[in-house]
Assembly symmetry: C2
Homo-oligomer: 407 residues x 2
Amino acid sequence: MTKRIGLFGFGVVGQGYFQIAKKQKEKWIPDTIVVKDQKKRRPSDIKFSYHAQDVFDKNPDYILELISNTEEAYEYVTEALKRGITVISANKKLLSAHLPELISLQKVFGGKLLYEAAVAAGIPVITTLETHFEEDTIVSIEGILNGSSNYILSRIFNNGLSFDEALRMAQQKGFAESDPSFDISGSDVASKLNILILHAFGKFVGEEQIATFGIQNLGEDEIALAKSLGLKIKLIAKAEKDYRGISAYIIPTLVEESNLFYGVENEYNAVKINSEHLQDQFYQGKGAGSLPTGAAVYGDLVKARNGFSYNYSKVNFDKPLDEKLLNLGIKVLVKCRSEEIIENNIFSTEFIERVDGFYFAVGKVKPKSLNKLNELKEVSLIALPDYLSAEDILHELKEIQKSGELI
Amino acid sequence: MTKRIGLFGFGVVGQGYFQIAKKQKEKWIPDTIVVKDQKKRRPSDIKFSYHAQDVFDKNPDYILELISNTEEAYEYVTEALKRGITVISANKKLLSAHLPELISLQKVFGGKLLYEAAVAAGIPVITTLETHFEEDTIVSIEGILNGSSNYILSRIFNNGLSFDEALRMAQQKGFAESDPSFDISGSDVASKLNILILHAFGKFVGEEQIATFGIQNLGEDEIALAKSLGLKIKLIAKAEKDYRGISAYIIPTLVEESNLFYGVENEYNAVKINSEHLQDQFYQGKGAGSLPTGAAVYGDLVKARNGFSYNYSKVNFDKPLDEKLLNLGIKVLVKCRSEEIIENNIFSTEFIERVDGFYFAVGKVKPKSLNKLNELKEVSLIALPDYLSAEDILHELKEIQKSGELI
Ligand SMILES: NC(=O)c1ccc[n+]([C@@H]2O[C@H](COP(=O)([O-])OP(=O)(O)OC[C@H]3O[C@@H](n4cnc5c(N)ncnc54)[C@H](OP(=O)(O)O)[C@@H]3O)[C@@H](O)[C@H]2O)c1
Ligand SMILES: NC(=O)c1ccc[n+]([C@@H]2O[C@H](COP(=O)([O-])OP(=O)(O)OC[C@H]3O[C@@H](n4cnc5c(N)ncnc54)[C@H](OP(=O)(O)O)[C@@H]3O)[C@@H](O)[C@H]2O)c1
């Protein structure tokens, strides 16, 4: 039986979906495609509409929401769910902001919402959390969740490019937007981690609560330090749960060769799940791009057709969905221009040292401070693995300074 | 609604399942547990039976088949499927031998059969092939699928143990059976690859057809060679499909650091899938052990309860399920005591060289020859990556001989 499909958005993801759907036995070609910009040149053999209502007028079985805007996506998706229509979305910003409401709408009106492409694109992490881990207790979930940032870090560590050169290259390759701030500030990752936390721990924490620091201020000094220690820096997102509650943070992190994330390069994403029974699992796949994301959307459609939906099995619907995150300190190396910033934000400080006009310190930072520091220019933080002592870091910084590599 | 569960087998996997089921909200404690050996000491607080009929007499909703024997498993599983009962099995030997019939029985009588634990234990590879890749075209599937062999190789490469010491250690740790031949000869892997081929390519090839060579004859010389080249040896299973058909082989393989399998150590398993749309995916997880396998069985039960079953979506049921594999040559380094073996089995030979009583050669081997050679003592083969030339290998062998490391 042919299904009627309405599609919103015909950009990177929408075109990827379209290209894939055309080749299948079950073509699932949308009967309506709504886009926004009336002046844009489009393929002449496809009919486009500029009115959302055109999608709803056709009484579609499925709606694909693949647009770049969040507010309008919210309107389309809630409207569809209120009509009991099943929706596939790739929109992490929308989902991260409105999941609790979107879950209720599914319950009340019976339409389903699937969104595998929204987190780690091609990696089936949400489906796997919902099925394979349904009755297992998750201890932690950790990931490299932004392809652009990871691509930039790969160019810096493997090709010796500067941050700015690497960013330009990511933009040329189409991995980073012309305004890349969502990608490199960690904001995109915070949306994704927020969604994963709901599926892993059954709680909605909201991305504003997640301690987030991006790679935007990463300087030559931290890069030289990592290299001289034989380590790499990766933008790691991590959420864990223990008897006290959930903690979650996103921060550039020093990783050693034995860490599975060490080998995750370029536009790849990866997810590590630690659970009580299945213990360690690691998944790696393409984190962005037209075909992998389009395939994830098509895959959701196939799953929905087969009757699959998210159970939100970790959620206890008799209790509030919202949860306050733990306020635990994270051990970091901080670099900035002012000693005050360190004094006001870093505690358990192990050293403060002035090197070439910068202050360097090792100490701990609380989630709230991290979010504030992420807004400042010229402040750089990286998380340190436990085995690295402050003395090791200080020693290495001085060595780098001596050898003149530090700017 | 409580479901009635019948359990066959209370060994490593059965006990893992039981331990997990006891802790859940939905306990799913089997009402009948059938085991075999009447003399074995058992926990006194659990009731056991020694008669398969006891399971069927209770009219169970689900049967878990977790026994070590294949013939009796065949009887229980076919009996259950004929009664339309849903079965969870971890028995790769059974499945690999009888999948076509077991698929028909599901179709005819409506009972379902799930078996995630049978391949790569905790990694949800079959479910992922059936859902996420349902409408994607798979190009190749590759894996480290035997925890014991991989554990042995890790001890050899990371701790400098000899093969025999490493095997003893694997047995002490419970990763290898007291008769480890299934594990180290590649036979266990062949069953698993045979099952994966059905889910990835929709064809049943039969494990006898799969070119298989184990690690049982791996000698100091090949190990020294790999080490001096900065490589590791991993027992890699690979199946790929192109316009000509499917090829499949299992063989110890030289892998370089940039290969994701390089970092898969100890009892871990890993699977790499390359597909047209999702491109590269890589999954790693525990490949053996009581909790990971028990959790995979429990997970299957949850999936079955949720209405999930394998679609065998790659299978074209209008065509024969059986398929002949391609007979392509594989580039190998062979070591043996007789020049005749090389002449009779290796073609496109690039060199034959006598070193310390052994003949070494680089050339190609056909699947049928590989299977014959796997039966012989003192014949060792490793697959070579394309970039390594015969000259490089020969040069390195001579260097090793000079430095006296070669026995
Ligand atoms: N790109 C990736 O690799 C990737 C990966 C995972 C998730 N995502 C998510 O997928 C979604 C789409 O991303 P994208 O990369 O495909 O974006 P994109 O290339 O910028 O394309 C966005 C599309 O949405 C359309 N659009 C914007 N506002 C609209 C509205 N109000 N009504 C109808 N159409 C509207 C645009 O129309 P015009 O054609 O008229 O401009 C365009 O076709 C986003 O939520 C993004 O976060 C993207
Ligand atoms: N171990 C792993 O990590 C692993 C991983 C994946 C898949 N598997 C598969 O899972 C299955 C079970 O493996 P295992 O490691 O749990 O084996 P195991 O530890 O040797 O236990 C086998 C169990 O099967 C019982 N049994 C044997 N024949 C029986 C029969 N005819 N009727 C009833 N019970 C019978 C045995 O009974 P007694 O107690 O009376 O001896 C024992 O309880 C095998 O197919 C294996 O290939 C194992």
